[in-house]
Symmetry: C2
Subunit: 140 residues, 2 copies
């Protein structure tokens, strides 16, 4: 396994609309995609492009959203996860499990915001950082 | 002002050596730079390369290190800041101050880990995310 591109940094927020204003008006981000819902993950997301990567704004969607717990501890929002691309998501998952890492959902990949399979490694195994691994998107 | 490349994600850790093992052995990072001290900032740092960006591992250096406070809340470590490049750090600082943002150290830039001037925007103004802005390094 070899980590590839830093695909995006996930940032939890109580309001995507408010966060868009920060990235647009304070930092001058110019390419901000249309927000969309991922109901099966309990989140609404919005990608903000920078030249070499993206910020993924994440807002809770629905009462059971896993982001509510994050915002209960950090009401203003904050850094939620870091996502790297890997060439083979199943090989990466199997290697992590063999090394004793805790992969969320028992390691079963699901389709992420970019339409490709993703897995999450528990932060307890990665120095307190929630790591998302995603299959390389087609356009690379 | 227009944010440029996501230069790095800053990750606080109680031990750079332990974190290097995670990124090397679990995630397969292959280009890990030599750690070095930044005594005037109270940190020891280590850059881990991915194809399009870097992870900056940050360990407290000295009793007054600002990272001790972070680790007191998150003993395993965690995501500390996100750093974007800007073409003109002074213009960026002036624009942020004019818009009412709180820039740390009164907006006075200092030389960061890449040898170029950096400023930090207070997380209270940026949705709970500590944002570092750095002048574009020479090699870009």
């Amino acid at each position: 396994m070899k980590i590839g591109r830093l695909n995006h940094v996930g940032v939890a927020t109580p309001s995507i609309e408010d966060s868009i204003r920060l990235y647009r008006d304070f930092l001058g981000a110019t390419k901000i995609h249309e927000p969309f819902d991922l109901p099966e993950q309990g989140v609404r997301v919005c990608f903000v492009d920078v030249p070499n990567s993206q910020i993924e704004l994440i807002e809770p969607l629905g009462a059971d959203s896993p982001v509510h717990g994050f915002l209960a501890k950090s009401p203003k929002g904050g850094q939620h996860h870091v996502c790297f691309e890997v060439p083979d998501i199943i090989a990466a998952r199997d290697e992590l499990l063999a090394k004793g890492a805790t992969v969320l959902r028992g390691g079963e990949p699901r389709i992420g915001a970019h339409g490709v399979p993703v897995i999450f490694v528990h932060p307890k195994d990665m120095g307190g950082v929630l790591i998302e691994l995603m299959a390389e998107p087609e356009h690379h």
